[in-house]
């Protein structure tokens, strides 16, 4: 969606820069229509992709770097603001892991470290990380 906005701004700008380019104006509507149709389709595709957000364990491998420093170390304890062993995630249900990460992201869960980490994750990242931990045995 950001892409759409940026592109339409740049189109408008080129019009501002070349206000006297008559030829431009003649061809403009057709090009614009095509462009708009393309952008609309791209937008729909993007929304559809986000709605599914299926987790992939292969792409997750680059994304769990922030997780394993705590959740991958036996006996590792959270030290701030309270001390307790961080939860075991391997084999946990993917949907629950997604719910938990989204709750940190939205601020329904207040743990400061997890809020920081979850806030940096996209919906796709969350789905991937959840799938990664869910398949562990």
């Amino acid at each position: 969606m950001t892409g759409n906005i940026l592109l339409s701004i740049s189109v408008r700008r080129s019009k501002d820069i070349f206000p006297s380019a008559g030829q431009f104006r003649v061809n403009y509507p057709a090009t614009m229509k095509k462009l708009l149709a393309f952008l609309a389709l791209a937008g729909i595709a993007q929304i559809a992709a986000a709605a599914v957000a299926k987790g992939s364990t292969t792409t997750a491998e680059n994304k769990v770097a922030n997780c394993i420093g705590c959740h991958g170390i036996p006996g590792y304890k959270a030290s701030f603001p309270e001390v307790y062993q961080v939860p075991m995630l391997g084999g946990q249900s993917a949907k629950y892991i997604e719910n938990a990460l989204n709750a940190y992201k939205k601020g329904e869960r207040k743990h400061p470290t997890m809020r920081g980490i979850a806030g940096s994750l996209s919906d796709q990242d969350i789905a991937d990380v959840a799938a990664y931990y869910a398949q562990q045995k």
Binding site: I68, H71, G72, P74, K77, P81, E82, V83, Y84, Q85, V86, P87, M88, L89, G90, G91, Q92, S93, A94, K95, Y96, N99, A100, A103, G107, E108, R109, K110, H111, P112, Q136, K137
Partner: protein, 116 residues
Amino acid sequence: MKSFAISSFIALSALSLSAHAGGDISAGKAATEKYNCASCHGKDYNTPIDPGYPKLAGQHRDYLEHALVAYQRGADGANGRGNAIMAAQAKPLSRQDITNIAAYLNSLPGSLVLRK
């Protein structure tokens, strides 16, 4: 007879010690039955009725305690958690109930693992 008394004294004091340190497993089992935890988290606490709910069997004891206390605090409390269902479930629990429940759930065999 005397040796039996001594050994049972030792056994009992060991039991009460473990109960003090890590919560009372059988009291925890009774509490989970009283508050119907299994109706969502599954009979064995490893097969929740909805994938949106966590498996609890074998989870770290101190983490489970933290989570229940956090639900009691709610989303407005420091290091709390807001969740409509768990807020209502955690509300009536005493600190001792929480310790016992965590000990019981931790003692159960489950499929949670710690891996990289």
